[in-house]
């Protein structure tokens, strides 16, 4: 059930907030041992919030589209009175003394906080397998990763344990799990959603945003996170006449065959609907990886330096080693990376000057098997983590809003995802484009976004 559907039923008195919350809690009870999506289930508190939401509605107080909606929260966001573990033993004993502003905004919007979701330790990874609480698993195939680092968040939605979730994205950590699990994931424009009360990875790359079942639902949660709980979704722009740009070199060079086929099929449906699709080039795309890693490794290592000295044994080994590597980067190379970041930012701006959005795959591969370090792509064997980050990390460097949405499945039923990228500080404009394109990219036309409008 989507947030939109639940809202209609709630206001028609066909369901209550308590009933949907109980349904989510039942799903958690049934499947969390298998999926490990939640680190903490806040059952009693969620039921209390749901009953209060029902009482408020009965008294005539409607807080807006998230009223009574069960939402899960990535466990690096502070919720007053409970631990923020960041999926790490380093955080043992921590209890948050206040809500992060994002949580305050969700409460003001009437959302029911149902629990805290599993993640890659300190968000420093793409698979959600290096967690002090064990790996989160993909509901489509529990032997596979749900993506990361917000893996538990995406899994909680697909497994009907929550109607939406809030995650964080430093190199793709909302969009990668959205792609791996087949949900919508929105990384808003940089700086829009407050990061106060959120365990940082990189203060210049981190973004907070929603994961949800539809673009409309993502839009509702995004506006609630901004402190605008009563906002209604924007109307989609007419699909006929939209101008989208495909950055082919680099972004389409290394793709799994089935991902490529679904991406090209989505482009064909968009063209048939009247969208102009142009091929473009990000000239310094080959520099994305070195620029990203010099900045992200150093930023992340800086935050962790004291605990790497004091309690290194409390980190999972792969995360500890990546953190340690960041401590060896020379200052001169960090400055070079900052210069490269400016170049990339200008190139994405230029690519968007003549287009409504960029369109590209979100992840070059379907969800990988847990424990795999390499994955076959075409005739080559590629590192799993490099592949998962390859198409998303640029937009953390540049700060452009980016949204991942489902685009069919592989023959074995694993989700494929397409990413739309909009102009900086124009997340709502991107959402309008995404609403217009959603059914064409998914391959399931709906009445909401027919050809021409």
């Amino acid at each position: 059930m989507t947030i939109e559907e639940f809202g209609r039923m709630l206001r028609a008195r066909e369901i209550t907030a308590e009933q949907i919350t109980d349904e989510c809690l039942l799903r958690i009870e049934a499947d969390n041992a298998r999926l490990n999506a939640f680190i903490l289930v806040m059952a009693d508190e969620a039921r209390r919030q749901a009953r209060e939401a029902d009482r408020e509605l009965a008294r005539g107080r409607d807080r807006g589209p998230l009223h009574g909606v069960p939402v899960s929260i990535k466990d690096l966001i502070d919720i007053r009175g409970v631990p923020t573990t960041a999926a790490s033993r380093v955080r043992e004993g921590h209890v948050a003394d206040r809500d992060a502003p994002a949580i305050t905004h969700l409460r003001q919007a009437g959302a029911v906080i149902i629990g805290k979701t599993n993640l890659h330790e300190f968000a420093f990874g793409t698979t959600s397998e290096d967690s002090a609480f064990g790996p989160a698993r993909n509901p489509h195939d529990p032997s596979r990763s749900p993506g990361g680092s917000s893996g538990g968040s995406a899994a909680s939605i697909v497994a009907a344990m929550a109607l939406a979730s809030v995650g964080s994205d430093t190199g793709g950590s909302i969009r990668i799990p959205a792609a791996a699990c087949g949900t919508v994931g929105l990384k808003p424009s940089f700086g829009e959603v407050s990061l106060d009360g959120v365990v940082p990875m990189s203060r210049t790359l981190d973004h907070l945003g929603p994961l949800a079942q539809t673009v409309t639902d993502a839009c509702l949660v995004y506006h609630a996170l901004l402190g605008d709980p009563a906002a209604i979704p924007p109307a989609p722009v007419p699909v006929n006449g939209l101008r989208l740009a495909v950055p082919r070199p680099y972004f389409c060079d290394v793709l799994d065959d089935e991902v490529r086929a679904q991406f090209e099929a989505a482009l064909a449906r968009l063209r048939d609907a009247g969208v102009r699709v142009d091929d473009i080039e990000i000239h310094h795309a080959a520099d994305i990886v070195p620029v990203y890693f010099h900045i992200s490794f150093v930023d992340t290592a800086t935050y962790h330096a004291p605990t790497l000295e004091a309690m290194p044994e409390r980190y999972t080994e792969p995360v500890r080693l990546r953190l340690e590597a960041g401590r060896y980067v020379l200052a001169e190379d960090y400055v070079r990376a900052l210069a490269g970041r400016d170049v990339l930012k200008r190139e994405v701006d230029a690519a968007l000057a003549q287009h409504d959005a960029l369109v590209l795959p979100t992840m070059p591969i379907p969800a990988p098997t847990i424990g795999a370090t390499t994955v076959p792509v075409g005739n080559s064997e590629q590192p799993v983590r490099s592949m998962m980050l390859r198409l998303t990390q640029l937009f953390n460097l540049t700060g452009h809003p980016a949204l991942a949405m489902p685009a069919g499945t592989t023959r074995s039923g694993l989700p494929v995802s397409v990413q739309l990228v909009g102009c900086r500080a124009q997340t709502d404009a991107l959402l309008k484009v995404a609403l217009a394109c959603e059914s064409y990219i998914a391959g399931t036309p709906s009445p909401r976004s027919g050809v021409g409008g």
């Binding site: 310094h284 070195p290 620029v291 890693f293 080994e317 080693l321 060896y328 983590r385 980050l389």
Partner: protein, 61 residues
């Protein structure tokens, strides 16, 4: 400091600290640094520009 000098120093330090697992991560980082330093957005005191070098694996695994 050249990348080779940096890598040798980093590997020796990692070894001294009992972190042999760092070796592949540092080697991948060295390749990334090589690519970064070769990028054509870098300038230098002679006023010359480097030619751009291509792809590198991320030091993630």
């Amino acid at each position: 400091m050249t990348i080779d000098q940096w890598l040798q120093a980093a590997l020796a330090d990692a070894d001294r600290r009992g972190l042999p697992g760092l070796k592949p991560v540092l080697e991948a980082l060295a390749r990334a640094t090589q690519s970064l330093r070769a990028a054509d957005f870098n300038d230098d005191a002679r006023g010359t520009q480097r030619s751009q070098q291509s792809t590198v694996d991320s030091p993630q695994s």
